[in-house]
Structures are given as C-alpha cells and as structure tokens.
C-alpha cells in the first residue's frame, strides 16, 4: 500500500502532507488503513464497539503524534502499534467496568430481523472461533485472508519475521478450520457468508 504510482501517493508522501495539516492526505491515510486498524483492534478487544472506538481514537492519536513517526514510509506499522496499544488499554478499562455487550448491529443500518439474527449468530461464532487463537494469529489471518496484505507487508507492519508470519498464518487457519469445522452449522455458516 505504500508503493504507488504517481496517481497513488505513498504513505510517506501522505504523512508529510498530513503533517502540514492537509485534510485530504489525512483522509486518504484513514481510508487506506481503517479496515486494517479495525481488524487489529477487533483481534484485541473481540467487540465491535470497542474495536471501532480503538481504531478511530488511534487515528487521532497518530495525527497528534505524527511528528514522532520517524519513517513515514512505514506509517502502517507505526499505526498498528498505536492501535494495539489503544485496544489493550481499552480492554483493561472495560474489564474494570464489565459492561454488557451491545449488539454489533446497534449502530449500523436497518437490516431485516432474520438477517440480523443470522448475521449476529454468524459473527458470534466467528468471533468465538477467533478468540481461541492468540492475538497475533488473529491479526495475521485477518490482515492476510481478509485485508489481502502480503506476508512481507504483515511482517513489516507487525514487526515480525516473514517466516513467523507464515507459520502463524498456517496455525491460525488450521485452528479456525477445527473450530468452525466442529460446528454442525459450518455449511450454514459458509452459505450465509456468501
């Protein structure tokens, strides 16, 4: 995502422009990494609302500290560190409060009741399966299989050796298959996900 053509500015270029207060550049950075930030936050918090809050706050923190980003071309990795730290802090605070979980659909859209039930059920099962994985494996499988990040990009941005990323990905997939495969509703899950 940081390599680009002349039409697509690099992360480094966007960071430099955002440092000067360029709203468009900052908006592009947010658009480029909002899904990844959310995925990483979700792997830590396991709750939609918390992941959303942590990801959004992380972008604002990143902007305030943008001058501390020593390698603007490696903005993504720097941002993911902020996301992880914010998410962990939030989980720590939440664990003190122990509020009841609010349905992920509470803030979004107006889907039909059947669809709400199906999606909520599916999300619940997926999150349960994901939660059985170590945090880093959740992040890797989400960033690779969902976000489409390459092994090299994940390694660079999560500050891990490339071999470790491959290994984590392998074990994460295997564990997810076991977790989801053991569920008699797996075929139904697949159908719903289509």
């Amino acid at each position: 995502m940081s390599s680009s053509t002349s039409d697509t500015p690099t992360d480094g270029e966007l960071v430099q422009r955002a440092r000067r207060g360029d709203e468009l550049a900052f908006g592009k950075l947010v658009g480029r990494y909002q899904r990844a930030a959310y995925a990483v936050a979700l792997s830590v918090t396991s709750r939609h609302e918390d992941a959303e809050d942590a990801a959004q706050e992380s972008f604002l923190v990143a902007l305030r500290r943008l001058d501390e980003c020593r390698s603007p071309d490696r903005f993504a990795g720097w941002l993911m560190t902020i996301v992880r730290n914010r998410s962990r802090n939030l989980v720590r605070r939440e664990s003190l409060r122990e509020t009841d979980q609010i349905s992920p659909i509470a803030r979004s859209g107006v889907p039909t009741p059947d669809r709400v039930f199906e999606t909520t059920e599916l999300r619940g099962k997926l999150q349960k399966a994901l939660q059985q994985l170590p945090e880093v494996q959740q992040q890797i499988v989400m960033l690779h299989d969902v976000e489409g990040w390459k092994h090299r990009e994940i390694a660079e941005r999560l500050d891990l050796p490339a071999g470790t990323v491959r290994s984590h990905l392998h074990f994460a997939r295997k564990a997810l298959r076991v977790a989801l495969g053991g569920d008699p509703g797996e075929s139904e899950l697949k159908r719903k996900a289509q």
Partner: protein, 136 residues
Amino acid sequence: MNGMKNGGIGGRDELGRDMELAGLLSALDPAQQDPNYWFRFRSWVVESAGPELARRRLMAELTVVDVMSSWARAVLPTAVLAAAFAGLLLVRGAGPAPAPIGVEEMLVSDVEGETIPAALDARGPGATVVFASEVF
C-alpha cells in the same frame, strides 16, 4: 473486508488468501450490514481531526519572519516599559553628589583610636619614615 474476490470454497487467490476463510471472516466486516459504514468511519475521524489539522496548517504557514515578528511584538513593549522604569528610578535616585573623601580619610575611616593624620601631625613631617616602618 477489502476487495473480496470470487474464489471457490477452500481455494486460494493470487495473493495466497484462503478464500473460504476470507468469505467466512468477511461477516465480521461492519460494512456487511451497513454499506456506508467505512465512509462514516472515515468522515468521523477526519471531522474529529479538524482542530489538529487546522493547527498544523497554521504552523506550516508561519515563516521565520512571522515567528520573529510575533516574538518582537511580545518582547519589545516589555523592553520599552522596563527601560522607562529603569530611567525613572535613575532620575529619582539622583541627589546631590557626596563630598569627596580624601585618600587618607578612606584609609583610616574604620581604624579605632588615633588616626594616622593625627599621628603625623603630632610628630611633624620628620616622623613619616617612622610611621611607614611601624605600619609595614
């Protein structure tokens, strides 16, 4: 959540993604239920970042001259006031000049008992050599 491709169940795309898992995990994407989710997410972040972005724009527009002039604006009036106050103190403190003190008086001003000029007076001009040898 991003750029899902139509891969078969259990298949891999050109990036090596497991499309079966990707399909399942995409259910965690909030945009599945709300297509405008990511647009709103970004809008919220950019809007909330408005004051910080404005501050950064202001800082970027400032030149060295601007910085110096803003510094001067604050410092110059203070310096002028301080100089005026100092001048006032000098004027008010200026009274009649004290009477000049002779060197001999200064030398004996804190000496108790008979002063050197008195001793010199008593013995006359010829006693000067005696005085010097006693003192030094």
